[in-house]
Symmetry: C2
Subunit: 204 residues, 2 copies
């Protein structure tokens, strides 16, 4: 019986789209389950059947957005997402490639407005912030931890370095430029961050 | 005629306190000139005589808060604030000292709540964000630029390094941990950031 399944997938996507659009347009505090249901053209019971709260809906909508971006980048019919940063043996090149892809994603208007609205709310709503950091941000940072650990095994990163701190040298500057508009960002900028982090500011 | 001057200084401080308290308690969007005036016990014309907008009031309230923190750290009767990072000749020690002072400031509840409320609003109100970055954040970042330039002259930082990017390797990670609660921060953490940034992640 494929029909009910297909219909529910369609509703699910409509709900994601409605949730992302609303949070971008009117902000997280004024986004409600009722508003999402109305915009998606479903009953609010449909939403409550699948999710417990608007934070849950948005969390899954963002995860889905990430999957879509990944699939678009890798082309139609690509293998399912590989949850790892490539390891070509060249750490600088691998980090530069993944940060360039992040620059593209941060510039995508579909991602920009809802992410910004949610990040803003996460600063003042501690519980929301905690959930999004734990479920969205931290898992993506762990991919850098894994890649840096592999580089330590290969002798390309000093063994005493803590990878969870090290990754912040290139991830946090980009995050701050994007979030707070402190300065423009580009591929040249993220490439530079990787070089500075790997080789240091002091003469060698 | 010292009396009017003294009275107006007192009103000015009351207005700063009221503005910071309100933005922390009810957020930037709901903070109004009328609300600040009522809480400070002054007429709203008093506020409009000195400032054009609530953003202006808050900007000066934050500048004043920074001056107070600086004066408290340096002791009663200290010289006026020196707008420079100390240069003892030891770049690592100087950066660690200023970042430890920043850790203290970020943990001060007087600073924490209004800063967070304003940072959140700056993410979604582009004009407010631009003013606060230009008038509060960027001038403090320029102090790092100056210190790194002096270190370049002293041969402690490679000549080809762009100081405006380099400072982000230790400033942005702390900002992100503070703003987004991605992980705890401590003196040990900021010391580590400085060491990683100066000496790099790759073996020397």
């Amino acid at each position: 019986m494929p029909e009910p399944k297909r219909r529910s997938e369609k509703s699910r996507k409509a709900i994601y789209d409605a949730a992302l659009a609303l949070v971008a347009e009117i902000g997280y505090p004024r986004t409600t389950i009722e508003g999402i249901a109305a915009r998606a053209g479903v009953g609010k019971q449909t939403i409550y059947r699948w999710w417990n709260s608007k934070a849950d809906v948005l969390l899954e909508a963002f995860l889905d957005l990430g999957e879509q971006a990944e699939q678009a980048a890798r082309g139609e019919g690509a293998e399912p997402r590989q949850y790892a940063i490539p390891d070509t043996g060249d750490l600088a090149a691998d980090l530069k490639a993944v940060l360039r892809a992040t620059v593209d994603e941060l510039r995508d208007p579909k991602f920009e407005a809802p992410s910004r609205a949610l990040a803003a709310e996460g600063l003042v709503d501690a519980e929301l912030g905690r959930v999004f950091v734990a479920k969205l941000l931290e898992p993506s940072l762990q991919l850098y931890v894994d890649r840096l650990r592999a580089a330590q095994k290969a002798g390309q990163v000093r063994p005493e370095i803590d990878p969870r701190i090290a990754l912040e040298l290139f991830v946090s500057p980009l995050a701050q430029r994007w979030l707070q508009h402190t300065a423009p960002f580009s591929y040249a900028y993220t490439d530079t961050l990787v070089d500075y982090a790997l080789y240091g500011l002091a003469p060698r």
